[in-house]
Symmetry: C2
């Protein structure tokens, strides 16, 4: 059972990396790591990454498979009775930060957790994940395409899934201290097992498989657009919000850093070049202002256009 | 009593800003803000800041004075019985990020808290603060000078103060996920009232007054040194650690962001331009490597040289 999931995840990572290499002309590096038994976590992983590429200024797509002695409470929100049990976790996680400010940043994660409560005959397994898009310059066509691809991928698993996971994503990727969403959202789910193992895993696969059709057409449309210092500057400023979200709010990042996870893998999500400035606001009517007024608010993108 | 502290803090802010303006030729902007009564916090503040200056690429020195209805537990580590009481807090907080990578970043905070427990005749007051230095290129002479200035400032208040506060600073400004100190330390203290109000306040003043003699001679020595892309690049990379510390570990930053504090004032501590890269290490034997081997480890700087 775990082997099937593992094979799917490794294959997904390989497909995504190959497609991005072809689309962008960047060669991904490989970094394989092993955590020996003895500490709180053991396991291994394969990080694939680009730095200073043509398409991706920084991007990572990581597979990891770890076992731990005691499941932290933060790992299962809705089943506190599993906290403390031995567990196994595997997943693929990616963040791509393109160089061209017209190409949005994308994040995806698909993961399986299995807990082994004392005395139980079978492990308790569940799935989590999702993907979300963070544009610097908004295009309604792109936001609609991204959301529709996710809606269509989830449709076979029940009409409630996309609206639920879309709202969950809007709520999760929200910077409370800025009262601002991270981007235009996508889908997010956790503690998911309600369809039984086979169908729940099939749903996870549908989400993972949707990353390339959701993202690549946007890359192809926006990558040729010319840009200058102004756009690069705004991109670097907005990337500061990405850092703030991931370091202040993201449960996965915080749990990883606090529990002794592998820092360099966890912080592959950090953008390559970031700027902060004081109390800055875009001039009304500019494309930069349109990001805030038209894109950084909840919209039913899949139903539009 | 509160008025005396307030007058000292506003005077300290003015003196520090005037001295930095003279030393660096940068004109600080002023931003005055008011939080009207009605929310969880009310009060006012004066932010003084430079962006894109000659000496300071980004720097802020903020005074704030707020009143709140209920003191959060995080605000007083050692007196949980005061949690929930109405409180008043005032302080000056500064972070200066110089442009020249040979000039270290400095941080200082001096603050007073007063809690008003129900039924108590007098408020309970205490002080906290300190300063610490974060070099990009280390100079033993600078680290020794910074620590000696703090040691000498604290000497009149008991021989135990500097060693205690130096160790507290080393423990506090530590990036657990990197197993790395933020810089070469300094002094840090909190919940301080053990000398009585007058002497404790005098000690706070001694620390506040020590900022300029601790930092300005270092600015004057290092500001003339020429630098190039290599040094700027390493500075931007190391600034990533500053971001990681402040957003993941710093209690003041997290409490401020989570409790509805003023985001732009709190995040004045963020550097102007920051880079992340994967699993990077300096070449052994370079000045960049020397920062890690010779400076980013606990040393009794005040006793050296």
């Amino acid at each position: 059972m775990q082997d099937t999931v593992r094979d799917y995840l490794l294959g997904l990572q390989a497909r995504i990396v190959a497609a991005l290499e072809e689309a962008g002309g960047d060669a991904f590096r490989s970094d394989r790591w092993v955590r020996e038994a003895g500490g709180p976590l053991e396991g291994e992983g394969l990080s694939r990454l680009v730095e200073d590429g043509r398409l991706l200024e920084r991007g990572g797509c990581s597979f990891s498979h770890v076992k731990g002695r005691t499941l932290p409470p933060s790992a299962t929100q809705h089943r506190p009775e599993l906290a403390g049990a031995p567990f196994e976790a595997m997943g693929v996680s990616l963040v791509f930060h393109p160089r061209n400010p017209y190409v949005p940043t994308v994040h995806m994660n698909v993961r399986m957790l299995a807990a082994f409560p004392v005395g139980a005959a079978e492990p308790v397994t569940w799935f989590g994940g999702g993907m979300d898009l963070t544009p610097y310059y908004g295009f309604e066509e792109d936001a609609q395409h991204f959301h529709r691809t996710n809606r269509d991928a989830l449709a076979p698993f029940g009409a409630d899934k996309y609206p639920r996971f879309k709202q969950w994503c809007d709520e999760y990727f929200f910077l409370k201290h800025r009262q601002e969403p991270r981007g235009i959202g996508g889908v997010f789910f956790d503690d998911f097992a309600e369809l039984g193992f086979e169908r729940s895993f099939a749903m996870l696969q549908a989400v993972g498989d949707a990353l390339l059709p959701a993202y690549l057409p946007i890359v192809e449309r926006r990558q040729p657009l010319p840009y200058g210092e102004r756009e690069r500057d705004f991109q670097a400023y907005r990337r500061g919000r990405y850092v703030e979200f991931n370091l202040v709010f993201d449960r996965g990042t915080l749990f990883g850093l606090q529990s002794g996870g592998r820092t360099e893998s966890i912080l592959m999500s950090m953008p390559p070049l970031v700027k902060w400035r004081y109390d800055w606001r875009p001039e009304p009517g500019t494309p930069e202002a349109r990001l805030y007024t038209d894109f950084l608010r909840p919209r039913d993108w899949a139903a539009e256009g």
